[in-house]
């Protein structure tokens, strides 16, 4: 595999584009464990990372992989892991650790059919709510979904940027279809890519309070070995990082975790609309299904139906505003998903207009085809 040459058209798999996106965003550490359909990410990074001075390691399992990337991130290196459903299940404990200790990292989950070993080589979108609520406790997290190879590059960069800026783990949901589809992309040159890095403390080490609130709600982050000796613990901690059981400190700490994300809603929530200007019917989709949906919308337009598309790129925090606007505008919304309606449930939750929300689901390991979505659109028009 050649190194990416910017400005050149490259035929890349979704998984390969994730790798190039991660490297462009400054990822220099990857720990992972082989799992279909995410293994290509490991394979390519094992080749690419040493070339850019980074580190690749294959750990003994996904628990260890998640631990290792948190460790590396604490040492000041942007890090990532990639897995699929069963491995993602194993990562949940340490994912919670990254949430409470506010360690930036990116977890790619290439979704396959579940539960358990499920359908290793088939596509699914069954991990959507798990990505949001998988680890225990009431915590905020950012979940992004990709739908094309180009997305795999650009959204991976976004994932790193959000993670670094808000000091929160970001889950990048890919799926078997996006991961294994090859498409041509032109990788932008490095100077065209906006890369965000965590903010290091500017105060002298004696003054440094590793978890002190500031106007952003995101404390400055010192990495190990830079003179700012501090304690990192998965226990609820005070602003110095020491365990606390004071109700006041506990609440203000946990609220800050939520608030920092709330403050960034406008930047974090990414959606894409197509043909929505005059739409009566909208299709709300994400991941590979949005590709089928778009095709279906074009077909519907050929039938004279004013259909439009709302593609969710950020799944969580739930892009309420965009969904609400689409629901207000349209008389009906079709929500096709490769699960039994995990996002449809969220959409229904915010539906205050009485707009008809029609689920269309497939859980047989196969893609939803444009014809199937078209049928749904025709059914509501």
């Amino acid at each position: 595999m050649a190194s990416p040459e910017t400005g050149q058209r490259l035929l890349l798999q979704g998984n390969e584009a994730v790798v190039h996106g991660a490297l462009a965003a400054g990822c220099r550490f990857f720990a992972g464990y082989p799992i279909t359909p995410a293994s290509e990410i490991s394979e390519l990074l094992s080749v690419m990372l040493p070339k850019v001075g980074g580190t690749f390691i294959q750990m003994e399992d996904e628990i260890a992989s998640m631990g290792a990337i948190i460790g590396a991130s604490l040492a000041g290196v942007k890090s990532m892991t990639a897995t699929s459903g069963p491995g993602f299940s194993l990562m949940q404990e340490n994912l919670g650790y990254a949430c409470i200790t506010e360690v930036p990292c990116v977890v790619v989950n290439v979704m396959r059919g579940g539960p358990s070993t499920g359908l290793p080589t088939n596509v699914s979108q069954g991990d959507v709510l798990m990505a949001r609520w998988g680890t225990h406790g009431d915590h905020p997290i950012i979940v992004l979904a990709v739908s094309s190879v180009a997305d795999c590059f650009s959204i991976t960069v976004r994932a790193f940027n959000l993670s670094e800026k808000y000091r929160v783990p970001v889950i990048l949901l890919s799926d078997e279809v996006v991961a294994h589809t090859r498409e041509c992309v032109v990788l932008p040159s490095q100077d065209k890519i906006r890369v965000v890095d965590r903010i290091a403390p500017s105060v002298p080490p004696e003054w440094y309070k590793p978890y002190a609130d500031n106007n952003r709600g995101v404390p400055d982050m010192a990495s190990f070995g830079e003179g700012y000796r501090h304690h990192v613990t998965g226990l609820v901690h005070d602003e110095r990082g020491y365990p606390t059981q004071q109700p006041k400190e506990i609440e203000s700490f946990l609220m800050r975790l939520h608030d920092k994300i709330t403050k960034g809603f406008s930047e974090i929530m990414i959606t894409k609309t197509q043909m929505m200007e005059d739409a009566d019917v909208c299709v709300i989709a994400y991941g590979c299904v949005s590709r089928a949906a778009m095709q279906a919308i074009k077909m519907a337009r050929a039938h004279g139906i004013k259909a439009g598309m709302l593609q969710l790129i950020t799944l969580f925090p739930f892009p309420r505003k965009a969904v609400d606007a689409a629901l207000r505008q349209c008389s009906a919304a079709i929500v096709p998903e490769l699960n039994l309606g995990q996002m449809a449930r969220e959409i229904n939750r915010v539906n205050q207009t009485g707009t008809r929300v029609v689920k269309y689901n497939r859980i047989d390991g196969q893609m939803i085809t444009p014809d199937e979505i078209l049928k749904q659109i025709l059914g509501v028009s």
Binding site: Q8, R9, L10, L11, T36, P37, P120, T121, N122, E176, V177, H180, T181, R182, E183, C184, C288, R291, A292, M294, Q295, K298, M299, A302, M367, T369, P370, D371
Partner: protein, 197 residues
């Protein structure tokens, strides 16, 4: 249906025949060098090893929404089993290309049978490159790819030292395909692609 027609090719055979490699080379040539939009997908998992294996290439002058094949313009089958399994969504005027030695029962009369494996064995000396013979034939018959670009891409993707063998195989496929008279097939659309090549 679409303003800009898609062209969909499905490669099928059994695992180990190099079906996916052929599809990737075609997609790479069409996408990177010809500059069209292209989506290449494939079947994964156990069926890729020994069982039925398939790979698809969708190409279009406009961005492609649905990445998988919907109605196939050209189906390549390198085994009888894969031909039977993957023939179902071929277009009425789509073309079936099969390995003459391995597929005996043709489900359509719009079919071209070329003995890819035999050519690979006899002319190149390695059965292994039957996929590249087939790729040459498909590249020619589909009329969707610049054959020079196809060769260039192929050579950039094969292991060092096997370039000549692969180039010869591709060329053998193209030569063989040139002998086919598509006009003689029922409901031919030969005129459309001849203009492009």
């Amino acid at each position: 249906m679409n303003s800009e027609p898609r062209y969909e090719i499905r490669f099928s055979g059994s695992g180990g025949q190099g079906i996916i490699t052929a599809a990737v080379v075609l997609a790479d040539a069409v996408g990177t060098l010809d500059g069209k939009y292209v989506c290449q997908t494939q079947s994964y998992g156990p069926e890729a090893r020994g069982g039925k294996s398939k790979a698809e290439v969708v190409m279009c002058a406009e961005p492609i929404d649905y990445p998988k094949a919907m109605q196939i313009d050209l189906l390549l089958s390198m085994t009888q089993a894969s031909c039977d399994a993957y023939f179902f969504d071929i277009k009425p005027d789509g073309l079936l290309v099969v390995d003459a030695g391995l597929v005996e029962q043709l489900p359509t009369s719009r079919a071209v049978a070329i003995p890819f494996t035999k050519i690979a064995r006899k002319e190149i000396g390695r059965e292994l490159v039957a996929n590249m013979v087939a790729l040459g034939a498909i590249g020619y018959l589909s009329g969707q790819v610049n054959l020079k670009n196809l060769e260039k891409t192929l050579l950039s993707r094969v292991p060092k030292g096997t370039e000549n063998m692969n180039r010869d195989a591709l060329q053998a496929g193209i030569d063989e395909a040139k002998k086919v008279d598509l006009a003689s097939l029922p409901r031919s659309f030969a005129n459309e692609w001849e203009a492009e090549v």
